[in-house]
Symmetry: D2
Subunit: 259 residues, 4 copies
């Protein structure tokens, strides 16, 4: 289980939300509260949209709580749309190429959860990845594989359909092999213009996911950044829902049903 | 606060005590039990005596719990005297040169605790380090500095006296500057023939320290490696005591009084 | 292009050949002489057979020339059969899981060269990897993939046939896709009892490979460890030859013809 | 010997000068041309002035030529004043805290060269560092020590005098100990408003240093970024000269005479 945060709104310096809140993501890297796995020390990553055609990405394998680069970068970088992730490995190696977010062209993707039975499913899920995307895989995680599966299912033309098809296909392969271990997915997917945040699981216990909207921004997080859930209006995203957020701030919550 | 382990006895493969016990040192790197600081993810180190004139040292800045090299090395290396340490930084940078154990010639030293007020004391404690040892400092920790202070106070001729003098001198400098923050020291010091394990503090709460002797070996640890303290005969080392262990297994517990 | 060294003979401390010779492998990491690529700073690795059922492996992503751990470990570890490799990436990420040698059970494999057109061939070469081996892949290199292809082609029962079949299959897939970029292979493969060192290429310029036998040992290397090729009896291994070395020292040079 | 680059002028994305030129700094990390030491693979660093009160700093211990973070960051970050450095260690450990540039408040400093005899001089040069600055030292290099010596000699009120006094003091200590090894210094020092670039040596062979001014910017570099020195107007900075550059583009070249 990992922890992550997505911010969309008025451009701010990243440290404002990554370091300053009481239960900031960086503190969650040491002491997560809403998870069995309390230490997320197997690397971290940042992805942000600035002025270039592609988002910036900074990922490293050290624990986030003690990385001077992360501190300086998040003090300097200002963005109106960024993703941050602290990792607790579920089996694959600690390597930069296994850290989230994953990026391709103008897209970013990060994930907390697990494709249960991934070791057995891996090859079957690699099959439908298009030749165009296949060589872009740099690591070995289930998350990066799912990212390129999304592309292969039409992410760039219809992201919601691509999500439905990809999750559907994963479920079909799970069924085909009789995998019992659940497929759990809390993820952010974005092209820099629109954000898709999903909470889904094949069992009754999807990882936690919350959102909060203020007058200046919207955040989606694995767990609230401060103790007082009421004041900051943290809402739990129900299971099997997809939150669609425009850069303008408009949001839409839709049921998520795999194809 | 860090966690450490010293083993002396029948030569064994290191993973036997580093990985296998329920509350092994590697598990303590994720979930220490006898400490406020429960995560020791800011690097780790091994020091062991083999067949060469100097001990081997392996140190890295990644968390110990997920380091494939550490796993393979501790499966291959067999030793009758070794030290292992997992680090939670008390302020200095995460760098290999700040990881324990420190080595010089045939000596190894590792430390859990802190010289309170180190930032102010640092230069005053560097003063008495001999010119011969001064350039050997590779990092910036209080622990490495104390190691070379020990050499300067005659470690190679009378280790106990060197400990008494070094701790005494640190206390004098603390007094001179009016430092209130306590000086806490649980440490192992060894030349490969004899081991000195100390538990000392200027206040009433020295870090925890335990020892255990079986028919084949003796261990000194920050916290017991299994739950059942009685069965495995873990004894707490009282505050301000020095445990002296010969390679033959003979032990001596003496009060520690700084000069 | 990488540089590597295989040693088989009287057990020695590894630094004897890794650090001491004038053109030692560690020096080659900074200044290779027999290669267009003169800097091999994208990680390194050691694999050695000791007293356990599986070989030890130590790999890291730093340049070998400045790694204190490598220096200490190779001073401590003694072995009668070991492999060492310094890496210059041909495209895949700098990650421990992409460093050689690769290990599985009692086998080690390391490679200098390249499967030309790997990006296009990758999926086709993954196809014939057995399900039993597929999840063991931790990185994304052509070399690691070839290692598991060898297992799938019967490495454990007939290593030479597995080599012939694997190289043959790679060539078939190259032909099928019309890949022009050459497939170059200088590699060591060993189960701890017998060593297979191969020099092969689909074009006229396989990477360099030399062997040398003294009264105490045999070495196979990318380039000689000292200037005076004559005195130390370095022999070039001809293209498309396979050198088979028994632990006893007996050797056999056979033509290598892919199936 | 290291390689470095200082840019001042119209804000640009950093990759424009770090990656794009034929002999870019990143290429120099693999193949420096104007130096005996041709590989600068022992870490790197960036420092840049953006919109905050303090400059941003990104330093890592991997070779610059293969760092995906560096590539992404320098594609995203735009600045009108930045420093970049690739390191070849002259003895101290490979650690982030030993990588340039060093930063303190709004100041940055980076250095190519060496205080000859540093091991013997170190303590004597630490003596005059003010208590206020002493604890800020995170590494063990001669360069970082000189940076805090500059602060102690009044950097914030009169930078040129601080340089003269610091170099003068180093020379006095060299004389006092009879150090023969030369003190060589090519460095950039800046508070974000004015840049001081120095080329100095106690012997006849200071490290190379060049500057170039176009209609949009000024650069100071260890070696020109392209082959055609004439066209790009690269000028060698003579030995023992100090180039002072205003953000406005105004420059002044003055002889440098230590106090």
């Amino acid at each position: 289980m990992c922890r992550w945060l997505t911010y969309c709104g008025e451009p701010i310096y990243l440290d404002k939300v990554l370091f300053e809140p009481r239960n900031s993501l960086i503190n969650q890297s040491l002491h997560a509260r809403h998870s069995h796995v309390t230490t997320n020390g197997d690397g971290f990553g940042l992805g942000w949209y600035g002025e270039r055609g592609v988002p910036g990405v900074y990922r490293d394998i050290l624990p986030a709580w003690n990385d001077a680069n992360l501190k300086s970068l998040s003090h300097q970088i200002r963005s109106g749309l960024f993703l941050a992730h602290v990792r607790a490995s579920t089996g694959t190696a600690t390597a930069r190429s296994n850290c989230h977010p994953f990026s391709h062209n103008n897209w970013l993707f990060m994930h907390n959860g697990q494709i249960g039975g991934y070791e057995r499913l891996r090859r079957r899920l690699e099959g439908p990845v298009d030749d165009d995307y296949y060589p872009h895989r740099l690591g070995t995680t289930d998350s990066e594989l799912m990212f390129y599966l999304l592309f292969s299912e039409g992410l760039e033309t219809d992201p919601i359909l691509a999500l439905q098809r990809s999750v559907g296909r994963i479920n079909q392969e799970r069924d085909a092999l009789g995998v019992d271990a659940p497929f759990r997915l809390t993820a952010t997917l974005t092209d820099g213009a629109r954000i898709y945040a999903i909470r889904y699981s094949t069992d009754e216990t999807p990882p936690s996911l919350y959102w909060c909207r203020t007058s200046t921004h919207l955040m989606v997080v694995s767990e609230p950044l401060d103790d007082d859930v009421v004041d900051r209006c943290w809402h739990e995203i129900p299971a099997n829902q997809l939150l669609v957020v425009e850069r303008s701030g408009q949001i839409d919550m839709v049921p998520f049903i795999p194809e």
